[in-house]
């Protein structure tokens, strides 16, 4: 029960901060080095804080070229689906370079093509033109080096928690001795806090636990790139925050590269090094890429006390709801 109290405490904290003038909190907060502050809620006009020497842009336009030596390179990718009414261009000229060890979040309105882009990285789908390369190798089909955490967990319900993870380990390392494989499974279940539930059937555990199993399974095979399609969308706020923190901790221990879709700006600001914001489809592009400089390890409460947090947040909100508002908004 205690952690829940903690969380709700934090959330209250956030709510009060949200409405308060950030200047009030300015003196109490740690100095993160360069910081820009913005006037106005939309963050369109930037003014430099007198004591800060260097200005930094909040966000940059989507790249028009890639670094050929990048870890993961999405090189001028276009995806066109042939439909009855003629070709339907989902993605149009996507360029993105991701460095090794980076945590990238992808945000954009429903239907703009985020999953389509992710599927071309995981290899479930192929670009119509252009290429996706991991460490210089063109991606042609799915593989365990780019493990996916599926949106609806995709666990096998007739197996136990342990067996689900074991199936992955056993498929990827068929030649390792059984004891070693068992140990990998045990270790990764412990990592996501599921030691107790190891022998339960998937049908007997909660949604949050399922997502934990899915993350444990994904990490147990040591992927170079971890791909998550809106992993916490179906979870309640508290479980979601817990899992975000766990994911962050695991990521910093494992040092894998993460590419994750989210609909939640706060989630992206807490987790990501960079936030890729997509324009609306059809013919969606990368509108802008926001760099998130909060120091790591990140602490949710401390980030939220940072006025830059609201600048970034407002900027992203403005991007999504003013500059690229959805035509048929809910």
């Amino acid at each position: 029960m205690d952690p829940y109290l903690n969380h709700s405490g934090k959330m209250e904290n956030m709510a009060s901060l949200n409405s308060a003038n950030s200047a009030l909190h300015f003196e109490t907060e740690p100095n993160y080095g360069n910081r820009i502050s913005t006037n106005g809620t939309l963050g369109m006009t930037q003014t430099v804080q007198p004591d800060i020497q260097k200005t930094r842009k909040i966000s940059e336009p989507g790249p028009t070229s890639v670094d050929p030596n990048g870890f993961l390179v999405v090189d001028n990718v276009t995806k066109v689906y042939p439909t009855a009414k003629g070709p339907f261009v989902v993605l149009d000229g996507i360029n993105l370079t991701i460095n090794e060890g980076e945590f990238i979040c992808l945000i954009g309105h429903s239907g703009c093509g985020k999953t389509t882009l992710l599927n071309m990285v995981s290899g479930f789908n192929t670009p119509s033109t252009g290429q996706v390369r991991l460490q210089g190798q063109p991606i042609t089909k799915p593989g365990p080096d780019r493990m996916v955490v599926f949106q609806n967990y995709a666990l096998l319900p007739w197996m136990t928690v342990t067996d689900n993870v074991y199936l992955a380990v056993d498929s990827v390392y068929p030649d390792k001795p059984e004891v070693e494989k068992r140990e990998i499974v045990r270790e990764h279940l412990a990592m996501v806090g599921l030691t107790e539930a190891a022998d339960k059937k998937i049908t007997q555990i909660s949604g949050g636990m399922k997502q934990r199993v899915s993350i444990a399974r994904a990490l147990s095979i040591r992927p170079k790139l971890l791909i998550l399609d809106e992993p916490f969308g179906a979870l309640d706020a508290i479980t979601k925050e817990e899992l975000q923190e766990e994911l962050l901790k695991i990521w910093s221990d494992h040092r894998c590269t993460v590419l994750m879709i989210t609909h939640d700006i706060d989630e992206a600001l807490f987790l990501a090094d960079r936030l890729v914001m997509m324009t609306n489809g059809p013919s969606a592009k990368i509108g802008e890429v926001m760099t998130i400089h909060f120091p790591r390890p990140r602490d949710r409460a401390r980030i939220m006390e940072d006025p830059e947090y609201y600048d970034l947040r407002n900027y992203a909100l403005d991007f999504l709801y003013n500059r690229f508002a959805h035509d048929d908004d809910e």
């Binding site: 995981s122 593989g143 609806n152 995709a154 096998l156 319900p157 197996m159 199936l167 498929s171």
Partner: protein, 283 residues
């Protein structure tokens, strides 16, 4: 239970639990009995009032020959003159053979058709056509096509019960969620492992549904199958010869046996289904 824990003795505990059992299941026991008795009484009066030529249910007892059959199911005077237990037993053996063949062919072919869309396109119309043919209609065909009556009888049972297994297995394999296939693809799971760890468990609820429908059909086909064989020990041929000899109450008794065995077979499959499938993955 907790309320009277102080005064509880083993005796009151027993009558207590009996009472709570009765409270929970009483209706489930009493109402079916009322239904069955009502049916028998109406039948009895209908026969006595000469509304039907069918003898009343009491004829099972009043008819001398039938009474003997009723009392001595295990008698064996050699040849065809055997008690109804042995007649049923022989029929069950035939059904077991035909049904096993149907299960093997149905599941095997179902998996093939379910995983290969081209094979499905080629064979589906043929299957849809063949499965509409009633068991009795197969009799003359099998008698001509197959070398002896033994195989012909088994074949009739096989061909009657194979369709639900085949069709349900096909659907079960086709319905494997894309998510599971995606997991298999990203992990690059070997085909054998995919077959045993994903395909079979995922399709199993459908396969069981097919098997359960099929056991009923296989048993239904026994009459047709044994008419084909003619002159063998078996409940189907027993009915046929009783009818030929106009022993109507013997027919009735045999029908009761057939119904009861069919019910038991279905319950048995339901039990297996329950045992093997986890409760929540049953379709």
């Amino acid at each position: 239970m907790v309320a009277n824990a102080g005064t509880r003795t083993s005796g009151t505990n027993f009558s207590e639990s009996l009472r709570s059992f009765w409270k929970k299941n009483g209706e489930n026991i009493v109402l079916p009995i009322i239904g069955i008795l009502g049916f028998l009484v109406i039948w009895q009066f209908a026969s006595m009032a000469q509304l039907t030529k069918l003898p009343p249910p009491t004829s099972l007892w009043t008819d001398k020959q039938t009474q003997e059959l009723l009392l001595y199911p295990f008698m064996d005077r050699g040849g065809l003159d055997k008690g109804l237990f042995w007649q049923t037993w022989e029929s069950l053996k035939r059904v077991a053979l035909g049904y096993t063949a149907a299960a093997i062919v149905g599941i095997g072919l179902g998996i093939l058709v379910g995983t290969q869309p081209k094979v499905n396109k080629a064979l589906d119309p043929l299957f849809q056509f063949l499965r509409m043919i009633a068991p009795l209609a197969w009799v003359p065909i099998t008698l001509i096509a197959l070398p002896n009556v033994q195989t012909a009888a088994i074949f009739v049972i096989f061909i009657t019960s194979v369709w639900p297994i085949l069709i349900n297995t096909t659907v079960g394999v086709q319905q494997i969620p894309q998510d599971y296939k995606n997991v298999a693809r990203v992990l690059q799971i070997s085909p054998t492992k995919y077959f045993f760890k994903i395909l079979i468990p995922s399709a199993l609820p459908y396969i069981f549904t097919g098997l359960r429908i099929a056991i009923g059909l296989a048993w239904l086909a026994i009459i047709a199958a044994e008419i084909v064989m003619s002159g063998v020990v078996g409940i189907g041929f027993f009915i046929w010869s009783a009818y030929q000899n106009n022993y109507v109450s013997e027919v009735l008794l045999a029908v009761v046996y057939i119904g009861a065995v069919g019910l038991l077979l279905d319950r048995f499959m339901a039990f297996l289904q329950h045992k093997i499938l986890p409760t929540d993955s049953r379709s």
